[in-house]
């Protein structure tokens, strides 16, 4: 591939399959993908396409039926599942903060499990809250119920990053937020991911989000990978009617909004 500089492969999925019914049907069917250091790989598809299940096979929240998952070249089945999860940051779809713990305790939970000393944990919590732009003095002692949705997910990011993970998994991290909060948080997240050169896999059903954030976009349908490419490649060459239709949707919307803004008659309504 011209102009391509090879970098270290952090994550590789090799023909991963997952069946919940003993092999008659597959929620994940022969999925292969790779993420290089610092890349953000987006799994894109409609609900039920197997993208979240694929994500969960990476930290063994779901055990694959067959195929291999390699992290830094090591097959994850050869590692203890609990130790594996502690080395991988995870941002949950429903945010998943523990309601009975303070913000600081939530952020520090994995470092605590890893046996970090109290003062080191405390410093790390301060660092991370600043990173996600929450004032530690204001927020550390609060409980999740006292935070807005956007603030909660900032804490969710901080928690996922706490133990210096080799890899970050994100399951629709912006899904529960209103559009304005979402845009702000998305920009901040992208800046942090770039700054830390963090390798990440993110699941979303939002085409715009996938194209704006992803270094690579993996389009899935019915458990299978339809297309895997960079956003520009995928836009210019969908290579599949379903993918083409999917990619046309954000552009169509953008065109209509633009037309409306320029005073066109894209939409006619009662005045």
């Amino acid at each position: 591939m011209p102009g391509y500089t090879p970098r270290a492969v952090i994550l590789e999925l090799d023909r991963v399959r997952k069946s919940y019914d003993g092999g008659s049907t597959f929620a994940v069917d022969e999925v292969s993908l790779r993420a290089e250091r610092g890349q953000l790989v987006v799994l894109l598809g409609e609900s039920g396409c197997g993208k979240t299940t694929t994500l969960k096979t990476i930290n063994r929240l779901v055990e694959p039926t067959s195929g291999r998952v390699l992290i830094d070249g090591v097959d994850t089945v050869s590692v203890d599942a609990v130790a594996l999860r502690r080395s991988i940051g995870y941002v949950f779809q429903g945010i998943g903060l523990f309601p009975h713990m303070t913000v600081a305790d939530n952020v520090a939970v994995t470092t605590r499990l890893l046996g970090w000393k109290a003062d080191r944990r405390l410093r790390r919590v301060q660092e991370l809250l600043e990173l996600v732009r929450l004032d530690p003095g204001d927020y550390a002692a609060k409980t999740p119920a006292e935070l807005s949705g956007g603030e909660q997910q900032r804490v969710g990011f901080a928690r996922a990053l706490a133990a210096n993970p080799t890899l970050l998994l994100l399951d629709e991290p912006f899904g529960a937020l209103d559009p304005i909060t979402r845009d702000g948080l998305r920009d901040d997240f992208q800046a942090i991911q770039r700054e830390l050169n963090m390798t990440a896999v993110m699941v979303t059903h939002d085409m715009t989000e996938a194209l704006l954030l992803g270094d690579r976009v993996v389009v899935m349908r019915q458990g299978r990978v339809l297309r895997e490419a960079s956003p520009p490649e995928i836009l210019s060459d969908p290579n599949d009617p379903y993918v083409a239709n999917l990619m046309a949707s954000p552009r169509r919307n953008a065109d209509r909004v633009r037309a409306m803004a320029s005073g066109g008659d894209a939409l006619e309504g009662p005045r």
Binding site: V82, F92, F98, V109, R159
Partner: protein, 524 residues
Amino acid sequence: MTDNIAARFAELPDLLAGHLLLSVSALLIGIAVSIPLGIAASRSPRLRVPALAIAGLIQTVPSMALLALMVPLLGGMIGFVPAFVALTLYSILPVLGNTVTGILEVDPALTEAARGVGMTDRQSLFHVELPLAAPFIIAGVRTATVWVVGMATLSTPVGAPSLGNFIFFGLQTRNWVAVVFGCVAAALLAIVLDALIRLLEAAARRRSRLLGGVAGLGLVAMVGSGLWPLAAAQLQPPVTASSLGTTAVAIDRDRLPLEGRSLTVGGKGFTEQYILAELLALRLEAAGAVVDRRPNMGSTILFDALGSGTVDVSVDYTGTIWTTIMDRPEPIERTAMFIEIAADLLREYSVLTLGRLGYENAYVFAMGRDRAGALGVRSIADLRPMAAGLTIASDPEFFGRPEWARVREIYSLGDLRTRSMDSTFMYGAVRDGEVDIITGYTTDGRIKAFDLVVLEDPLQVMPPYDAVLLLSPEAAADPAVVAALRPLLNSVSDEDMRIANMMVDVEGLEVVAAARFLYDRTTR
């Protein structure tokens, strides 16, 4: 009234201690069993279904029956152990059910998050699931506390002293002050324990050491002070009669034959038995013994306790033993019956029938004088033609006895309507015409006081009920015990017993006063 309350307060420390010991230990063990069981059940559906079903089934057994059943199930053991086991079983369901519900109600997204951040199953349980289930579990503990403290009042008939003694005693002797006293004491205890648990919960929720300390101290102080009389009894050397110096009883100070001996006196749950138990206790204490009084026991429970030696001395009635222990349906001649009973009890149970007290407390059919006159009834046989229109009231025990079946059959009284009620209420009910006939006790002062007519029994269907003094095998082997009780034999007349009963039931005097009266009458 004031004396009555003062007497109740004097009894309070020991009964409160018994009540606390029973309910707190049952709760602690119940919780220690049900929380781990609940955790296991929340993890395994195969365990969950049977565990909840069995706990639910236990709950459907009426609490009184559960307590009573523990006695035969534990081989005739009475007192603390059967009450403790029953209360522990009873406390399981609320805690178990709430633990299971609490854990299952935890949002699955959070248990997945717990796994996702790298918790082991155990860490997820202790750091996430249990803290989130804690409000449910504590609610279960509070429910169990209120239930157990309340149910502990029912442990009196199985011989475990509790605040229920006030209630049972008061009910039998028409001492309503005692009943209310027992209820208020039990309710206050439940409220205070519940409040302390709530305080502990608030402390845990707010992570306040101060609040936790206060609640913890409160619990310790409450349980500690409540149990103090028991601990003090353990610590001090046995109290002797000479150091008691209470009763107006002449004591031979030089040499007390039962000095240092501990004996248990048992009694059933009605006035006459309270008085007799106290009388026996006074006798034994006068001889130097340290006496543990266990009034209010169920009839067969008391007999079993005597056989197993948990109780040393009690008074029973020949007719009761004949029908309920020996299972003999037809009565025989009075003296022959006494002799057969004495032989049988010794042979079968090693229980010694020391002798007759001298009076009889038979079941008799009694009617209001006006009603009997109007209907022209003088004997049980006269009831036959009009049986369909009449109602008879008795205690539940009597309607379960074989002699009731025989009376009904022999006098053809199958059409009589029956009403079970506590013996306390029967006399008033027949006097006021609410029922037509009752089965009263011959020694009950109210037959005379309420001007009731005792119906004749021309076919001699009702067995004689001579009061007999029974000794456990161990007590029977001790000549000093026998010697201390011997003055009571053949020395309590029907009239004296009736007077003693009236002193308590009608005049509202304390049981001890009636017992002293009999004591003096039997001391010559």
